[in-house]
Symmetry: D2
Subunit: 368 residues, 4 copies
């Protein structure tokens, strides 16, 4: 249970990796928002398999279908159901290895949780493929934030394996990220990251990495304390992405070694407005946006599917065995996860902006 | 809005730092659980101010009152309202500095969010004092998990400032943690941590740190994918604790630099049961418990209240100014946060265990 | 916003009368339930237009498609998305009368609520057509209740216009209801009801009526007090059906004129089990099932679409005008609403039975 | 579980009849609302026992205490905890009749539901006393609606036993209701109602009745279709009041016998605004307010506690027995329930008005 998230803007995810489709119902989107389906399609394309030599060869066109909630190019206030049909399903192999759970995957925990009734083909509900739904919703949220508040949400890869990207300005990040297959803004790190992935792939191994997400122009005053924090809700949304294992805001884990005096963000006036000298907090204080860019880092574990023999247990015969996974897998999921991270952050920000009344329930006709 | 969390086990927090009380309503706790109020009191005492020379001198007895939901020492199935009355309130100083938000605190964001109507005294709803409510609920959850499933949840300090504790066994952690004022299981690191805190205090500065939480004996099969992950729900609950800025599960951020082959947890059989060779995943795969210990690390930023002059803005006069905070503050909040972290993790695990039916709605009379 | 209902069993509705489809996502259905799609189809057929001479001539096959959440004929524990595609859409007429709201319909309130962005064609989200989704979910709930608890949920027409059916036994209700076009168990009243509808239709007018729903074999102990009552949740679900205006449990409005002594249901023993002499309460005390049949009456207003000239306002020109509605309408919606009422009652009972643990999250393999 | 209701405005109820208190946490109330505690107290006094010769002699002062969420007479945006302490508890009698459930009460269903762990004294959570919490919340909602939208919510008794009040104008209802002990606006019916109650009381019996609630000045456009209807949410809230068994909107059950042409509310223009000729719909179309008065009728069953010997089962010995209830009871609960009904309707209207953005999250300082 509970494939839904959000309070006023709410999404419900459905679909399985090897079922008929991957979809989502987005409820509570303000009426009157003009949504260009091509903008959603572009983000689906950024996420879809087969987009570069670094990704799985499963070839899904992932063509968006909007089957409710839109009329004449605008949202109506009714729930928006969006989906992509699964086409290139190859379920062979899943029957034979049904009883030998893949290390690092959810095969075994899913089996226990659902008493063996779960659709195990391709990982079922646990597949990275379900993130197509997160992208569709996320892009609608990005459009809503942009058109009503001027908020921009974008993400980029800052670490893959041992390659750490250097800091880049917001302009560089915007300009450089989409021009390379690893979605890294540090153009010097790109070649090293590509090489690292290729080497891991060659060895049948896989790599982890880290994505940073930035939301610009978020007005101060969105969020709340206790169980209403931006950090808490963003984290919950990000952990819906398979393979995410850590979330940091602002300085993140580096706060542990810091002293208060050096990391407190001092207030200042800038053109008559209150702002801060620094943004160590990552744009959130007391769970509420400060007006500074919201920044968070999301760590992904290496793809658990590798082409190396691994030890597992045959849970039917209850004996230890070796497993060699065949099939089509990404040696590093990080580049394809970039639009998913953007989408989840945007979704939560949009939900919270509606909650505090910054985005109205019915948009003005002046919003193009 | 939304001071509630949880699905079947649900808590609603109320109260302010300088209001009349800090309280919580716990709804959905199974009927028939024998709860010893002294056990809750002990955790409140671990959290309360004034417990050692390292903490604030605000002196709150924090005596638990249970004002609903219990009858003859057992839960009845009705909502349990628990609270502590605020006694040692010193609101002087808050009026004078009402217009000069403290850097690193939520003063300014709260002002924006609530249009200046918020109770700013002592940080109001944004104060660390609200965690007394989280502890009360958390201890009930710990009792519930222990008596029904044998689950043990405990936390310990692993980093304060630049002092990093060495790895310790579960037995050492259980034995050593409560014997020292920083709640660190590495007895050699304790003195260094105490010294670091005292030095920071002397300089009017503050320190951050990291707490690790462990849940032992959690059965496999609790949690779910997508928006139902243990990681997501635990994170959301932990970010309710003021000053938390990062959450990691298992290897956490270190996964970024790892390779799949070295971090995938291989399955094995042990006395006829399926288990794993390693626990890099921190006890969670696909959002579901694996049966291995659930481990997460929580990073705290340094207490923003420091006795050093800081730059801020007088938001009434709209001019930059200097602020020197007086009052009573913890130079490092980490040691007092240990029972709060335990409580939040236990609460989410209990909620999820009820959801999947592992804990019944009415306990058997054999559960003492 | 909020097209979802339920706590552990949760449904989200989507689709519009003249959009591409009517659908629903059912989340939280226990894993392992064998669902025969033909059983759902049969209930869709009981609801669908064009099934008899008394209903609208809009001709929708309403063929069920299950696009997620099932594998090998069983539920998997994943969200179940079900839909019917809209085929026989005739949107002509809706453009021309867009600015003249139909009395008794939601045209004007929807326009105000959504700022004119709502899909007004065929009533959009406010159409009776959305109840196809409620039926799909409801039948899954009926199957779940029947296979796990032996609960049977069925409804029948007890009043249409001025024709009031006589009391019938449960056996007669089960046997007679589906054999006639008004779904009434009193075979003598059937002809009068049919005649009343035909006469109203001939005059271009419409009739209201009342449906009674009965749930047999519901075990005692399901539900709860305060905001968890069976009555409250069932009512909320039933008011999702357009045209419903009153809900009564047991004696319902007749309780107003009663005395305590004559309506209190006395307890007795029957074959060693506690039961009651009478069932005035309609199977619910304190919001909790008593073990007696759960009975509720649901009153429907006459179909607002009539072929008579009515006074309305041209909201574009802001002047009063006359409106004559063309198109295809049911002179009395009651007979087609019978499976919808069953479905909503079953859905809430199933949700509550799961909540208290009477239906497990994973079904045993012995449940066929 | 689930003692909470509401989406953006949310209340959580706690407390038991013979526990320490009856309380409520109100979350999501906009910041900046000036609340006069005396106004809440006045409604508590309208509900409290012992207010007239017709009510129980249990004497509770029911003095309001607000223990969080207010600062300087205004709401802060933080959760508002309000309670009354139980003083005049007389738990004698409850031990002795613990095993003999009272017919018409929830004793037995509660016992089954909570495995006998429930606090049975005075009905525990199932007592009418919990409605004190509903009143406290409700009055805050009434204040909020009045000050922001000019909405007035008031209720009056229209039926007790066989005495049916005649129709009265809104002005008469406002003027007459509070001047008599049965809260009936038809001054001629008052004496008959009083007499009926006294006669029932003398015979040790009890009476049911019906309350009508009216909300004036509710703007059109509040509410929504499907699972978001005003009718559904109001019903769910009203069924939280013990003894409620039927809810009707507008014509209610009389719709069953009506024809469309006679009950469709025709639109007209009045001083340039769209309104209706009649208000058969009770102010709601498609789940959304029409701008006409919202009207609903609520039927109460007779108080189940009567001073007559009744048949029950000794559930300890499992044998049939006779039960004669002593103690202090209202022969007719209806007059005291009037402010509770108002409160629940107001609460839902306020929640929905916030949801659609008609009431902002932070009130302007011009709202007194």
């Amino acid at each position: 249970m509970d494939n839904s998230i959000g309070k006023t803007l709410k999404m419900t995810s459905f679909g399985e990796s090897h079922g008929r489709c991957i979809g989502v119902v987005l409820d509570g989107c303000p009426a009157g928002l003009r949504v260009d389906p091509e903008e959603i399609q572009r983000d689906l394309d950024r996420r879809r398999p087969g987009q570069s030599g670094l990704t799985t060869s499963r070839n899904e066109g992932d063509r968006l279908e909007v089957i409710s909630g839109m009329h004449r190019g605008r949202t109506t206030g009714a729930p928006i159901c969006m989906l992509v049909w699964n086409k290139d399903r190859d379920s062979s192999g899943y029957e034979e290895r049904r009883w030998t759970p893949r290390p690092g995957h959810a095969d075994w925990t899913a089996h226990v949780r659902y008493g063996g009734f779960n659709d195990y083909r391709g990982g079922g509900r646990f597949s990275g493929r379900i993130t197509a739904g997160l992208v569709m919703t996320g892009t609608v949220a990005k459009i809503l934030l942009r058109k009503t508040l001027g908020v921009e949400v974008f993400a980029h890869t800052i670490e893959i394996g041992n390659v750490v990207a250097g800091d880049r300005t917001v302009e560089e990040i915007k300009e450089n990220t989409e021009g390379n297959p690893v979605r890294c803004a540090d153009t010097e790190a790109v070649a090293l990251m590509v090489e690292a992935i290729q080497m891991a792939a060659k060895e049948g191994d896989s790599l982890g990495g880290t994505i940073q997400c930035i939301a610009l122009n978020m007005p101060p005053g969105v969020g709340g304390p206790v169980f209403n924090t931006l950090e808490g809700d963003i984290s919950k949304a990000l952990f819906a992405i398979p393979a995410v294992k850590a979330i940091e805001f602002g300085l993140g884990t580096a706060y542990s070694k810091a002293r208060g005096y050096e990391v407190n963000d001092a207030y200042k006036l800038e053109r008559g407005k209150i702002t801060m000298e620094t943004n160590n907090a990552g744009g959130v204080l007391g769970g509420i946006s400060t007006g500074m860019p919201i920044t968070c880092n999301v760590t992904f574990k290496p793809t658990p599917s590798i082409r190396k023999s691994q030890q597992t247990v045959d849970i039917f015969k209850m004996e230890e065995t070796e497993l060699l996974i065949k099939g089509r897998h990404d040696p590093c999921i990080v580049p394809r996860a970039v639009p998913v991270v953007e989408g989840m952050v945007a979704f939560i920000l949009a939900d919270h902006a509606i909650r505090v009344g910054m985005i109205p329930k019915v948009l003005g006709r002046d919003i193009k």
